[in-house]
Amino acid sequence: MIPIMYRTYLMKPSIFTSVCLIFILLATLTVRADESKFHPATGSLDRHETVTGNSEQHLTTSRSDVPKVGSAGVPSLLGEPSEHLNKNHKSHRYHVATVDFSKVSTPYIISLWIFVAGLAKIGFYVTPKIGLICPESCVLVVVGVLIGLLLFFTGLEHVGPLTSEVFFLYMLPPIILDAGYFMPNRLFFDNMASILMYAVVGTVWNALTIGFSLWGVGLTGLYGMDMPLLDTLLFSSIVSAVDPVAVLAVFEEIHVNEVLYILVFGESLLNDAVTVVLYHIFDAYTEMGQEHIITIDYVFGVLSFFISSLGGAFVGVLWGLLASFLSRFTYRVLIIEPLFIFVFGYLSYLTSEIFHLSGIVALTFCGMTMKNYVEENISYKSHITLKYAMKMLANTSETIIFMFLGVSTVTDEHEWNTWFVVMTILFCSIYRSIGVVIQTWFLNYFRLHKVNKVEQFIMAYGGLRGAVAFALVLVVSEDHIPSKKMMVTTIIAVVYFTVFLQGMTIGPLVRFLRVPKSNKTKPTMNERVHTISIDHLMAGIEEIVGHLVGNRHLRDKFKYHNNKFIRPLLTRNHQVREPKIFETYSKLNLADAINLVSQNVNVRGKDPSISLASLIRTYIQNNLGNCSDEPIRHSDNVFSRDELNLLNLDISELDYSPTYKDLADAELHHNLSDLMFKPVKKTVRRYSRDLIDEDTPFHHKNRMELRHHQNQLQNVRARNKKKMKNDSKQNKNTLSRWNLLPGESERSDKDGASLNNSETIIHMENLDSSDKPAPSGAVTFTIEEQNHTTLSQDISDESGMSRNSFSSTPLSSRTITETTLPWKREEDCNDESCIRKQLEFPSWVENTEYNTYTSLSSNVLKRSNTDDDGNDPPDVFRLLQLKELHEKEKESSKNQRLETDDKFNNSKPHEEDFDVTAAGGGEVLQETTTRDTSENPLELRRPTPLKTNWKNHMSL
């Protein structure tokens, strides 16, 4: 079997494999070159210690030598002075190049192992068909064996890298953290009782029955050696535990239904507590010797089980809560946000190991606790990072574990005892099957989801043993148990048997027996909402029935207290009681949006300045009220595009509050564009009111042009008036704020264009001046650099020219300028430091410079534009736009906006630019419309897209 697999493995990517081999050789050579040195992975001094030396010593040396790991370079440092002295006597020459492998040997060899493991993993996925034959874990073990053979024949067989210390301290935690963090909590707690039953009763049952049976068989003298009862019990407690790593590796590939998966996997995680306790009990007993054990020891043994498991869970939850609490504050240091999760998980593991509690249980519970709260606190990017980093670490560890398992196999320390091995495997299989059947029979009486025969079989069959058992058996001291070597060999045999035989056949068996597979799909909105309501319903019914059956009322109670007490403490945004609903909503919308975008790229839309968001909003305003007007088409998918357009694509846009970074980015961008701007002398533009300027939609530069124009006028006037107060180095690039505030400007007029140090605003009153002519000075410019030079400038009545030029539209105080500049708003211009409550969309959503390249909405637009080969698609876009135009016309006619002075035609293009964007930018349009319709404009400052506005609109 193995050679065949190996051949398939070698066949296709021969180049790849040869590269692999070269590197493995290289690794071997480096190890060999450093043979006399300390070997990091084993943590032991290799050369003088004979391989046959007992492992107990091996381990103790490894412990005592651990400090030397880090100090690989220290001896050279310490030793060097004397050498230097010697050298000084001879000749002191500077070496051009030196080889000092010892300095880096530890990390170097670790990296090499990881590298080789990575190669092996790539090899598995590069090679076609191999995944069908056997699971990844098998291949990795085989590769490990090959490397082991290589090391063996190069005389390096004692480089057994898998020690229990390395395994338990460094390799296991990432896997368990990953498992705990991504554990489906709900499923886990739904099946908690069953899992605990399998994990506790099942493991104890297995340990005892296997132990006694092996001992019983040993009495017949079959093994040819003496096996005391305690030894077999110690052995059986090691071998009885199902291994989480192996189970994960196999079960993630076969995709059985969730319940079955969680039963086996949960068992494998939680039985660690039992195994650890049993192991310690029997280890202590063997140390004490059978005759010295008194009853109190048994009582303490049972007690220690509870302490170990419950204590582990307690420690885990505690650290988890602490991590959650801290994650409330990490949003200021986003970059290290994911780190906390890892550190706290690891700390929980180590903490529980200090007290001999079950580290695996602690880490599992820590992960499960953290996830609930941390996910709500951390940013999306951190979430992604966390997910990937965790998966990567877990995957790497898993790969290395299996490979090391293979490597460790190849030693000449083995003591093969056929009968013992056979009996162990036999008893393992038999008693696990019996245990599962009995327990399931018992549990099915209480379970709603009955575990049927087939699932029971898979559960029994999926009881894989793995590296945990191997690492545990390595710790056994040979002083107390002389048959240790035989035990190691047997464990390896059992592991191979389960990983290879059962691991390879379980996939086909699952298919053959038609075990219900998992159909994991993202929940739809309906499923999510209805499931939650059903949960509440069932919890209520359970309360009414009043039986203490079912855990739904418990969950409901927990949810209630969680929302009331725990979440306010641990999460930043705890108003939402059902974050899942929002999560699903965002996810679905994101998926839809990505789907839309992926179907259309390259095509440029007609007018990218019109964002989809504004389209949707106006569309909803116009149409949602009377849906009968717009028959909604339906395609095969749940969502046709039309429907989708009705929706807001991103829920967070509704409650957008920019971070400091966003604000800073926007400001930086504007500053840069301002600085880079080169004014064009005078652009002659054709002008037509009804035409939407397709070539140059509103652009940041238009604003600049406008300002440039303004500036010129201003300069002229300034020259005439010469009424500068301060030094008139008006560097327009320092205009960092720009806002239109009619009331404000009046005020500042009265103040005599006072200097506001706190505010940096340019008041451009003239846009409004047709409505209410300013009393004395029409335009007031207050140009300030923050806390630096302040210069203000009064422009007197001569500015009538500019005033008129802008007076054609009685735009509301919210103009395009305002929407362009995100940092300045009327309501909070007094308070610059606070994060602004945004309107429905970030204002620069309308700005093409931001959305041309990356914006989702503009892409969506492109698609809707060029739909159906451009044959006048009856798409929403066009409909919307027509409506908008119509709207605009109505507006304009109403406001008699054509009253423009012919003299100032040259300024009209700019003006028109404003209008185009006003039509496009939903916000502006909306603002103008709602302003006209409602009495209280301020109330409508915050557009409520679905309700208020369209109602207002309809009333129009």
Binding site: F446, R447, L448, H449, T521, T524, M525, N526, E527, V529, H530, T531, I532, S533, I534, D535, H536, L537, M538, A539, G540, I541, E542, E543, I544, V545, G546, H547, V549, G550, H553, D556, K557, Y560, N563, Q575, V576, R577, E578, I581, F582, Y585, L588, N589, C627, I632, H634, F639, E643, L646, L647, N648, I651, L654, D655, E840, T944, P945, L946, K947
Partner: protein, 189 residues
């Protein structure tokens, strides 16, 4: 208590209820004792207040709705034991090879549907959905967010374009969900 209540329950009545609902006699007796313990006034019927006296039901966001659903078949504002049992029989686990009258998938779903459908027009309107969402999500959430969620939910389920979720559409959306299991209670024997 158990003995006393079973005395109050006539043999033939148990048989009838067993026949109608499929509960076993011991289950019926057990539930009857629960019924009487809820019935504070000892008048053989339960009022809404009796239900809402259960503390956990008071904190259940849908508590009112659940209680309300018990009274859909009631003529006045009280239900007797038999009506009580009829409602509960919906939540018996499904048996594959037996006729399931009350506890069929459809009946279960209809009960869940009733959580939304207050005006009994067999349709969930946008407002009805919003109301339930409000109860579940809490009051601190902005109207717009909830509204867009409600819109999306309706849009997703609504196949006939009436901006409502009919019962058939409701069932269709939950096709993948294991309602039989989710909406069953393991009644003790």
């Amino acid at each position: 208590m158990g003995n006393k209540s079973s005395l109050m329950l006539q043999e033939e009545e148990i048989a009838e209820i067993q026949d109608e609902t499929g509960f076993s006699p011991s289950q019926i007796e057990r539930l009857y004792s629960r019924f009487t313990s809820l019935d504070k006034g000892d008048n053989g019927t339960l009022s809404r207040e009796d239900f809402l006296r259960i503390p956990e039901l008071a904190i259940n966001p849908l508590g009112d709705r659940i209680v309300h659903a018990f009274f859909t078949d009631a003529h006045d504002d009280r239900i007797n034991f038999r009506q009580f049992m009829h409602v509960l029989s919906r939540f018996r686990p499904l048996k594959k090879n037996r006729e399931n009258k009350f506890n069929s998938r459809e009946e279960k779903l209809r009960f869940a549907f009733r959580m939304y459908d207050l005006d009994d027009d067999n349709k969930i309107s946008r407002d009805e959905l919003l109301a339930v969402l409000h109860m579940m999500v809490g009051a601190n959430i902005s109207e717009e967010q909830l509204a867009s969620i409600a819109d999306r939910t309706i849009m997703e389920a609504d196949t006939d374009g009436d901006q409502m979720i009919s019962f058939e559409e409701f069932c269709a959306t939950l096709e993948r969900t294991d309602v039989e299991e989710k909406m069953s209670i393991r009644f003790l024997h």
